[in-house]
């Protein structure tokens, strides 16, 4: 089934910087999936519509576009959600600490019964919190 360009041009107008909207519209109008695939460089336009997988009916173009659009909105929203939850980045700090960590320091803790029991998760809520404390708090503040 072939539809006139006026039907899908409003949707296609969302694609910016494509080589030629008219060329794409013509390709769809002519029902030529291959022509469209060749027109849209998939590397340069990763979010462009696809007519693969038997999606040759022009009615599916709008459906595909809408699905892609929703997925893009969800993906693009994630950094905003992470920022909304917290501006802090503990993963970056962890990476810095582990990069500078001296091999072997602290391995003794992993061998203790306290750590093993806490780690094994078999004690229910009875040994749920493991606290390791350092020495007395003198000197640290002004050494920084």
């Amino acid at each position: 089934m072939q539809l006139p360009p006026l039907f899908y041009l409003p949707y296609l107008s969302e694609f910016h910087n494509t080589p030629s909207i008219a060329t794409i519209a013509t390709a769809i109008y002519l029902g030529s999936a291959n022509t469209l695939e060749n027109t849209m460089d998939r590397t340069a336009y990763p979010h462009s519509i696809s007519l693969r997988d038997g999606n040759t009916d022009c009615n599916n173009v709008t459906g595909s576009y809408n699905t892609l659009n929703v997925k893009n909105i969800i993906a693009d929203e994630t950094p905003e959600i992470m920022k909304w939850l917290s501006p802090l980045d503990p993963r970056g700090r962890h990476q810095d600490v582990r990069s500078d960590r001296l091999d072997g320091v602290g391995d003794w803790l992993l061998e203790t019964n306290e750590f093993r029991e806490w780690r094994s998760n078999e004690s229910g809520g009875e040994k749920a919190v493991l606290f390791c404390y350092g020495g007395p708090g003198v000197g640290k503040t002004y050494l920084r």
Partner: protein, 238 residues
């Protein structure tokens, strides 16, 4: 240069302590990162989720309880089911008054629900003593509620000894305490690293270097023997 120049015998107990205090902080963070890596590298058949946070004295103002809990929650969103709930809350907040930020009770509730959804969650928090006192109390309160709702969750924390009493008051039953005692070989490793990174190399001689590596571990060990005889102030209270 902290250890001074000339003879190594001039290294005072104070200098030795300052050096060790600085390194102890590094060791505590190293241990936290080691535990996190150990949990992350666990057997594949264990369905565990690890989240961590490093408290920092220099970042106290931004490290509010809400932000800390939020940072922990961001690490749980990788798990199926958690992100959907967070996204719904975000969409709702976005449509209210042009986008509302989260309050502590909202954040705590979201984190509680997220932890309850997952089979085994490990939360690791480094340097609890570097939190502002008001944030520490809020944080411990939230962690207490999380554990009450999810008894299989686990919390690992490091900090100075003086916060142990506060932690014990929130977790009177489930708390296990392990002292990070200075191991001579750890002290030596850190001293060697410090000496390697010393920018004032012209002030260092072979004999001073040898003295530093010999005397500081001895003095530090001596200090801790003396302190081990001092009772824990928390124990005096009880």
């Amino acid at each position: 240069m902290l250890w001074g120049s000339g003879s190594g015998e001039n290294i005072s107990k104070v200098s030795a302590r300052l050096i060790w205090e600085q390194n102890l902080r590094l060791i505590a963070s190293d241990i936290s990162s080691l535990v996190i890596d150990e949990l992350c590298d666990g057997p594949c058949n264990e369905d565990i989720t690890t989240a961590m946070f490093y408290c920092d004295f220099c970042d106290q103002q931004e490290q509010t309880t809400t932000n800390i809990l939020g940072a922990i929650l961001t690490q749980l969103t990788v798990r199926e089911g958690v992100m959907e709930d967070v996204r719904k809350a975000f969409q709702k907040a976005k449509n209210e008054v042009g986008g509302r930020s989260l309050r502590l009770p909202d954040m705590e509730q979201m984190l509680r629900h997220a932890v309850a959804k997952l089979p085994h969650v490990f939360i690791c928090i480094d340097a609890l003593d570097e939190c502002l006192p008001k944030h520490l109390l809020d944080l411990l309160t939230s962690l207490k509620y999380i554990l009450a709702e999810s008894p299989r969750a686990r919390i690992f924390a490091t900090g100075r000894r003086h916060v142990q009493g506060e932690i014990a008051s929130f977790f009177p039953i489930g708390l296990v305490v392990v002292p990070i005692s200075p191991k001579t070989e750890d002290i030596e490793k850190y001293l060697e690293k410090k000496l390697e990174m010393d920018t004032e190399r012209e002030a260092m001689s072979g004999s001073l270097r040898a003295d530093i590596l010999r005397i500081i571990p001895q003095k530090i060990s001596g200090m801790y023997v003396e302190e081990s005889l001092v009772p824990d102030p928390c124990m005096i209270l009880f």
